[in-house]
Symmetry: C2
Subunit: 208 residues, 2 copies
DNA sequence: GCCGAAGCTGAGCGCCCGCTTAGGGCGCCC
DNA sequence: GGGCGCCCTAAGCGGGCGCTCAGCTTCGGC
């Protein structure tokens, strides 16, 4: 852990599961390029150039440009789901768990903004099969948050009429952080996480 | 007013300011294509085809493909700002005005989802000058919402510590509706508008 | 009935895209 | 130390992109 980026969300070193080294460098380069310009505006020559390789090198490790996006999206969604599952399983009241889920989820979207941006906003560039796989992960993400809210309502901690709609709004709020968060802006990921946890507890009517 | 789409947000017929007729048809076709596939994945041949014209016809009415996006973005932001200004100027408490601002803003993002999607998510495809012009409009959008919240805090109606951060979150919540709203889904724009107005009033700590 | 302007099309230019192929360098194993 | 397999590059293919241009049709004014 040597840089601010690496400690974001207190997570393990990202992309370490991607081997060999050249494949990981290409993938990291693709994340940066996709986040900056969008998938369709990014060329394979740009990705290879950022990784210090020739355009042809990309095709040794990945069949197509779309496979790169698929791998990024898959790993990113796995990580997002892992964050929410960890929060949902911690001990404490529904209020505690919802606050932890929102703050850690938001910290990830802010601290790992480039990854989150690709993961959350380039889904439409995937083909039907890959998109279906990712959408299944998204339903699990939705389920984790909805579960906490349902428990809070059942236990009398929360006051929510439309659980599905509120779940959608909470996730939407967190995800959109990847769109507007600015690394050079006035807020740290931790600060946004704390603010958003407070706002979400208000949304579900949790007692102070 | 003959279709559900046209009555969304109770607004006037959109794009009527775009003349001549062929230019408007091209612009409407571009909105649909950009919303479906994104700006970079849309070809000028696709836009012209949707408008029932040859590819060359596009360049009689617009200098470049980017000018089309610029015009769409400009008109859309003007409309969004108009909606918020109207809500901010209505009579009533800050609570009433914030509820009206959020519900009408959300109704527009849901009911005019294709337009809103292009307006809110394709900003990065514009060149520096056009982007700067649009960002100025966004600051005005932000100012309208922040103004209502500040008045609510000053008048004791709201309980908000971080006004800027809360304003950002409220706008983020509304804007992201354009990403997830599904016309074939279970909720109408009116229903989402009402739900979101309630959630936002909770976020600012407005009394019931 | 003629003319110019406006609107549009068919053809296509030059460019850059995603991706392929042939072959070279280098380390590892016997 | 010779052969093999893994990575990688230089070069380039086929195609689709944004955009252009010469010329055709249509129509209002006189």
């Amino acid at each position: 852990m040597s840089t601010a980026e690496e400690t974001a969300g207190g997570e393990t070193e990202p992309w370490e599961e991607v081997t060999p080294d050249a494949a990981r460098r290409l993938l990291v380069a693709a994340v940066e390029a996709f986040a900056e310009r969008g998938y369709h505006a990014t060329t394979t020559r740009d990705i290879a150039g950022r990784a210090g390789m020739s355009p042809a090198a990309l095709y040794i490790h990945y069949k197509t440009k779309e496979e790169l996006l698929h791998r990024i999206s898959r790993i990113g969604h796995d990580r997002a789901l892992d964050i929410l599952r960890t929060a949902a399983r911690t001990e404490g009241s529904a209020t505690d768990r919802l606050a932890e889920a929102v703050s850690s989820f938001v910290r990830w979207h802010a601290g790992r903004r480039t990854t989150a941006r690709v993961v959350q906003y380039e889904l439409d560039a995937l083909g039907p099969d890959a998109r279906a796989e990712i959408l299944a992960l998204r339903r699990q993400v939705d389920g984790e948050v909805r579960g906490i809210i349902e428990e809070g309502v059942a236990g009398g901690e929360f006051d929510v009429i439309d659980v599905h709609g509120t779940t959608l709004a909470v996730l939407s709020l967190c995800i959109d952080v990847a769109r507007w968060f600015n690394v050079d802006g006035p807020r740290t990921p931790d600060e946004v996480g704390a603010l958003y946890a407070d706002l979400v507890l208000r949304m579900v009517g949790a007692a102070k």
